[in-house]
Structure formats: C-alpha cells, structure tokens
C-alpha cells in the first residue's frame, strides 16, 4: 500500500466527519447526563463512613449526637469504675474507701483505721479467736445463778477464717 492509496483512504474516511446528529440534538444531552447522575446516586448505596462525612443532613446529625452521647456515657462509666477500684489516692484497697472510725476507739488504731489495712478478701491465714471465760457475779440482793450455767471448757478456741485451709 503506497502513500497515495493511504491518502485516498484518509480522504474517504473524512466523509464520516459529516455524519452528525440533527441540529439541536445536543441541546438536552447534558441534561440527560445530569438526570442519569442523579438517578445513579439515588440508587447507589452510600458506604456508612461516607454517609457520615456528607454535609449535615438530619440523619447524620442524629447519628453524630447519638455517638457522642454513647462516648460520654462510656467515659463516665469508666471513670466511676476506676475510682471504685483504685480509690481517690490510687491505692488499690477496698478498705481505705471505708469511713475512718478510729476516733471512736474501735479496732486497731495503729493507722487510725477501724480494721487492719489488709483486705478481708486477701486474708489467707485463719484468725484465731480466743474466748475468754468471764466470771459472772451477781449482786448480793439477787438470786445466785444456777450451778453449771456458765461452765466453759478451759482455754476454748474456735478457728475461723477465709483461707484455703478452712
């Protein structure tokens, strides 16, 4: 195929440039494209993450407010839990959150606390409670106690506790 033949073919193909739509055909063409774009966007599912980035629509506003409320409630719940576990000074003891009753003269007063600082739940060795017999005395103007009413064994003891050896 020589150059002239190529030129002839090109001239012939240029005839096709005159195959154009009738006048006014393109007047509504872009409107058709816009209508299709609107249709496609209305039917196409929008991903949830994209939906939330759209301009403030009522649904997005409600979703954001719900999410913020949930996050706020979560923060409050977490802070309450942490406070109850660690205490206000960060000491992981349940006892320190109890009211200080040392002023009443009850229990151990070594640290001004009602009970020992060791938690009851963490106690492993049983506590030995010794029962000391007391002598009952009655006033002279009353009848004496019946014999054998308060007879206790010598040096009685009861082992109580929460440890594994119980």
């Amino acid at each position: 195929m020589n150059h002239d033949e190529q030129e002839e073919i090109q001239k012939l193909l240029r005839l096709k440039r005159h195959e154009v739509p009738p006048p006014g055909y393109f007047r509504d063409f872009s409107a058709g494209v816009m209508a299709r774009i609107h249709r496609e966007e209305a039917t196409r599912p929008v991903p949830w993450w994209r939906r939330q980035t759209l301009p403030w629509s009522p649904s997005a506003r409600m979703a954001w407010s719900n999410a913020l409320t949930l996050v706020g409630l979560g923060v409050v719940a977490c802070s309450l839990y942490i406070t109850s576990v660690t205490g206000p000074e960060g000491n992981p003891s349940l006892i320190t959150s109890q009211p200080q009753l040392g002023g009443l003269g009850l229990g151990s007063e070594s640290k001004g606390s009602l009970v020992p600082n060791t938690s009851l739940l963490s106690m492993e060795s049983p506590i030995e409670i010794r029962m000391i017999p007391i002598r009952a005395t009655a006033p002279a103007d009353t009848n004496p106690f019946p014999q054998g009413l308060f007879q206790l064994p010598e040096n009685p003891s009861v082992r109580v506790g929460f440890g594994p050896n119980r």
Binding site: E5, K11, L13, L15, H18, E19, V20, P23, F29
Partner: protein, 209 residues
C-alpha cells in the same frame, strides 16, 4: 459591535490559554461536588465524545447511551483525576474504554446502521465534493450508499484498529495523544493505523479507484 457567536456565549473564554484555565477551574469545582460545573464540562466535550462513540459503533442510539455512560463514569471518578493529562484526554480515555467494553460484550450481536437519524451534508466541504464526484468510479452511488459502505468497512475492523482510525483519520487527533488515550506507544498507534488503512483499502478498492 461584537460578533454574534461571542455575544451568544459571553462567558466562554476567547483564547486557548483562557480555555485551559477555565476548564481547570471547572474541574476543581466539579471535584468539590459542584454538579453545575460538571454540566458545563459536559457541554464543552459532548460533541467530540458523542462523535467518538458514533464512529466506534455506527449506531446513533448506542452512541447516545455510550456517550452518556462515559460522562456518568467520569463524574463518579472525577475525584481521582490528578490533572496529569488534560481533562479532555482523560474523559476521552473513559469514553474509548466504555466503547471497547460495549463492543466486546456485544461482538456477536448483529450490528445495524442508523444513518437515517444523522445529517450527512458533505456539500459544504469542497474537497469531499470533488472526491465524491470525480474520484468515485460508481458515480451513481449516492452519498448514503458511500457512507453505508464506509460504516460497514469500519465495523469489519477490530475494535482497536477502529479506535485509532476514528481518533486519527476521522477526528484528527495526533498520534501522541492517541497513544496517551490508549496507553500504548506512538509506534503502536502508527502500525495499527497502517494496518487498518490497508484493510479498508482492500474492502473499498472499488471506491478508492
């Protein structure tokens, strides 16, 4: 007194540089979601995109749908447009791919022509009048017959060869730009063009003389 064309479209830029700047501005606005800016971009490119689709399919209805498809796809992907090429090259590439996909999926379908829907008026082009009246051996073959033969021959070409003939010989696009659109070397464009013309010459030998 201003010329009628300018007074009819006062917002249109007057120079090529203004046109490029204006298109870039419209693209930026469209990328930020401004549909009216995209509408203006469609208006500026619709005839060439439609022409590409028509010459690829030789069918008016298909060309209409494919051109609209291409613009809808371009809108959906406009945020990915980086501006490396011109917007025209980018949207043209989308249209070519849309046409090629359409032709491949409907390769076995009977293709039909719809020249009656189109206006064929080469009388305005003296060169073509001379071509038809002097160089066409079968003078009794009317213009419609000539176009029918041309379109039949175009449809015999493979999609890739038809694309380069459409872009270069019909729409006048340079080799380099065709290469950008198709994502191939300019040498590949030239060789496809040569082979396509060779085939067309064989099929239209009685018209070429």
């Amino acid at each position: 007194m201003e010329p009628p064309a300018e007074s009819a479209q006062p917002n249109r830029p007057t120079s090529a540089a203004d046109e490029v700047a204006e298109v870039r501005k419209l693209v930026r606005e469209a990328q930020s979601g401004d549909l009216s800016a995209y509408d203006e971009l469609v208006r500026r490119h619709q005839e060439r995109i439609y022409g590409l689709c028509y010459h690829m399919t030789s069918n008016h209805e298909d060309a209409h749908d494919l051109a609209q498809d291409a613009f809808v796809k371009a809108w959906q992907a406009i945020r990915t447009f980086k501006g490396d090429a011109s917007f025209y090259t980018w949207v043209y590439r989308i249209a070519v791919n849309t046409c090629l996909n359409h032709l491949k999926t409907k390769r076995n379908r009977t293709l039909h022509l719809s020249l009656n829907d189109l206006e064929i008026n080469p009388e305005n082009d003296p060169e073509l009048v001379a071509l038809v009246s002097e160089r066409t051996p079968r003078r009794d073959a009317g213009l419609s017959e000539l176009h029918r033969r041309l379109n039949e021959s175009m449809l015999k070409l493979s999609e890739e060869h038809r694309a380069v003939v459409t872009m270069h010989d019909i729409q006048g696009m340079p080799h380099d730009e065709i290469a950008k659109v198709l994502g191939v070397n300019p040498g590949t464009v030239r060789s496809r063009l040569f082979y396509a013309r060779q085939q067309l010459q064989a099929w239209l030998s009685d018209l070429v003389g």
